[in-house]
Symmetry: C2
Subunit: 419 residues, 2 copies
């Protein structure tokens, strides 16, 4: 119900009765989801709505199958409540993560629990055509394993490793690969799978997943940080994922933490990613080894050194390697501290392979983030690892769809929907 008008870009629109109903329906559904088996009366209290209204909405949800009765609760001095809960099997959602080397798709229930998982190798460097073929193959396989997937599904969410800017379309061109040639993801998927398609970048999708179903549940302000090949992020401000003016918000990886720092892949200098991205970690490791007069690490030549070798060496007790990882955490901690100062979130959720390295990285990360944030600012901030695990990208993509059901706030204006 929000529109763009001539008012210099500000969105202003009136509301009608249907908007109230949509809002209250989402509020009730979200409360039923979160409070587990719960009585209508308690939902009414939590939502600040009258019992009558809540009863009617829940009746509607029960008729639609989204909510089911779940026995009777204990009496607290009166008639015992009839409990209701979300029926997670009522509908499903599909999430597809297009990674640089792999395609991962999941079919989830309404709790974002993975029910079917399909993975196919597909290196992006092989071009858009090849990836398109693999995407089609994935959806064929999904339909084979779950023939009713399309009808039962709320839609398909897609996470792509590139910004989805308002000023461009759903066509997806990774910035790292100018030869790619463009891939109109919704168009492609709608050929095989008859459901709405929503596309967003992978950091936003993961953030949304953690916000709705993972470590950020219940927070109003959340910062998500993903440290993988690059370093990215996404923001939840006052209860909703925020994309900024053009959809590019959250790019914490290219904030400068060293004015005259090393060059970064983005063309700048001293970006966080130049220190704590994969390439940056390897670069620092090589430099440290050279300074120490060593030309090998755990049997690997300097020129072939990858992050996994550094991790292995650190686990095997190599102190230099351990220090490189510690510094990685420290750099990330500074980036996180900076973002905490700007956003003052109540929770920071960390994801990505660099975080998965473990305590060697996250320990210093958390310590430095707390120490270098403005005193008082980070005290109330939890800094935790994501809960969505290895399939966070695909599950987050599914969350793009599930959000439509649960999100209380008005959905974003930028929705890339086909059919």
């Amino acid at each position: 119900m929000e529109i763009e008008d001539g008012n210099r870009g500000r969105r202003v629109a009136g509301r009608v009765a249907g908007d109230i109903r949509r809002h209250n329906r989402a509020v009730v559904l979200e409360l039923v989801r979160n409070l587990g088996p719960v009585s209508r009366a308690e939902v009414a209290r939590a939502a600040r709505l009258s019992p009558a209204t809540v009863a009617e909405i829940i009746g509607e949800l029960v008729r639609e199958g989204l909510v089911r009765v779940a026995g009777e609760g204990p009496s607290t001095g009166g008639r015992p409540p009839a409990l209701v809960e979300l029926d997670p099997e009522a509908r499903s959602a599909v999430g597809l993560e297009i990674g640089p080397r792999t395609l991962t798709a999941v079919v989830t229930d309404l709790n974002a629990a993975v029910k079917v998982r399909v993975e196919k190798p597909s290196k992006m460097v092989e071009g858009a055509k090849v990836t398109a073929g693999q995407v089609e193959a994935i959806f064929e396989q999904i339909l084979q394993e779950v023939p009713e997937a399309a009808e039962n599904s709320l839609g398909v969410g897609v996470a792509v490793p590139a910004p989805i800017l308002r000023s461009r379309g759903t066509r997806f061109d990774p910035p790292s690969d100018p030869e790619w040639g463009g891939l109109d993801v919704p168009e492609l998927i709608s050929r095989k799978f008859d459901a709405p398609v929503l596309v967003d970048n992978d950091a936003n999708a993961r953030a949304l997943g953690e916000f709705l179903f993972g470590a950020g549940r219940g927070a109003s302000n959340m910062l998500y940080v993903i440290a993988h090949w690059g370093v990215g992020g996404a923001l939840v401000v006052d209860g909703d994922l925020r994309r900024g003016a053009d959809g590019g918000a959250g790019e914490i990886g290219h904030t400068v933490i060293e004015v005259d720092g090393p060059p970064c892949g983005c063309g700048g200098y001293g970006c966080l990613e130049a220190f704590a991205g994969r390439a940056g970690i390897a670069r620092r490791a090589r430099r440290a080894l050279k300074l120490a007069g060593r030309d090998r690490l755990g049997g690997v030549d300097l020129d072939d050194l990858k992050v996994r070798h550094v991790v292995q060496a650190a686990r095997d007790g190599d102190e230099l390697a351990a220090r490189v990882l510690e510094e990685t955490g420290q750099y990330l901690g500074i980036g996180v501290a900076n973002a905490i100062n700007v956003l003052n979130p109540e929770v920071v959720v960390l994801g990505g392979s660099t975080v998965e390295i473990g305590e060697m990285v996250t320990g210093p990360l958390v310590r430095v983030a707390r120490r270098r944030a403005l005193p008082g600012m980070a005290e109330g901030t939890r800094i935790v690892k994501g809960e969505l695990g290895e399939d966070a990208g695909a599950v987050g993509a599914a969350a793009l769809v599930l959000r439509e059901l649960f999100a209380v706030s008005v959905p974003e204006a930028v929705r890339r929907t086909v059919v």
Copy 2:
């Protein structure tokens, strides 16, 4: 209508019919304000509401005196429209800025135009008692000059140079002065002036002023930066001022831009403020002079060197001083670039005395901000000086009150209101 509930901190609340009316009233009033003399029909189109609804709401606003008819517009082939516009004189607002050395109060109309201005010197170092007395004196003077101020006023906004955290009260204790002793601003003002009082920190107030009445008008995403004694900021995200989880959002001044940089007043190292705050500028100037083997600048001894001496020297052609100011702009530009990457705003508004130095600072600031933001990110971002001038703080404080009238989105949960 938003409440805190047990749902792990997330705010969820149902809406009722009255919420619709409140929302639509604000939408209509905001459109009338922004579109100047405008017909009911045009407002209806812009608001996506039916002509009937808009007519009724405007009738209500006219009866209340907030809106008045302003002649007739030209016919476009049919009945000529009766134009309506905001009557800025209908009500007033009071804004008080408590600065480190000065108290400034303004009485404004509904367009935030200053009608009365009262200033009193009051150094915060003299303690809360003295300041309290001066605040009372200011309101006495206001009531003397405009006896009807209290009845006519929507309320009093107060901007204080300290974070207003949700976790603390309205009691205001500047972090720089532990001896201060606390000042309950709403309580104090309500002794003299019978109107609601809203308190926020100065950066938030200024940002709100620029957003509603100044350089940020019409934007949805805005970053405000104030470079004065320190460096601060505030955020508008998706059409509303955002304060973060605890009210501390926007502290751009203490983001780290140099991992091993110079110590900052906050206890950290390499913060933006350590380079571009007043103390940082003076420190860099002294250091540059020493390196150049000079012990004076424009007749001033190194130990007494203040920013104003650097500015004077630069204006008089001193190249070293000019370079110090250029670097100040560059450091600020890096901080702005970092925030642009995280927030992707459509406009950055600059304020504070350091920005007022002029092109010598803002030129490099804008250039560096554009160059060091992620490619593509800053292209659509305007970077401009604030439009509210010298009284931006006090006018912004008044905006805290005016916002209640115009703000379309739900008002923040944290309102410090007395009476």
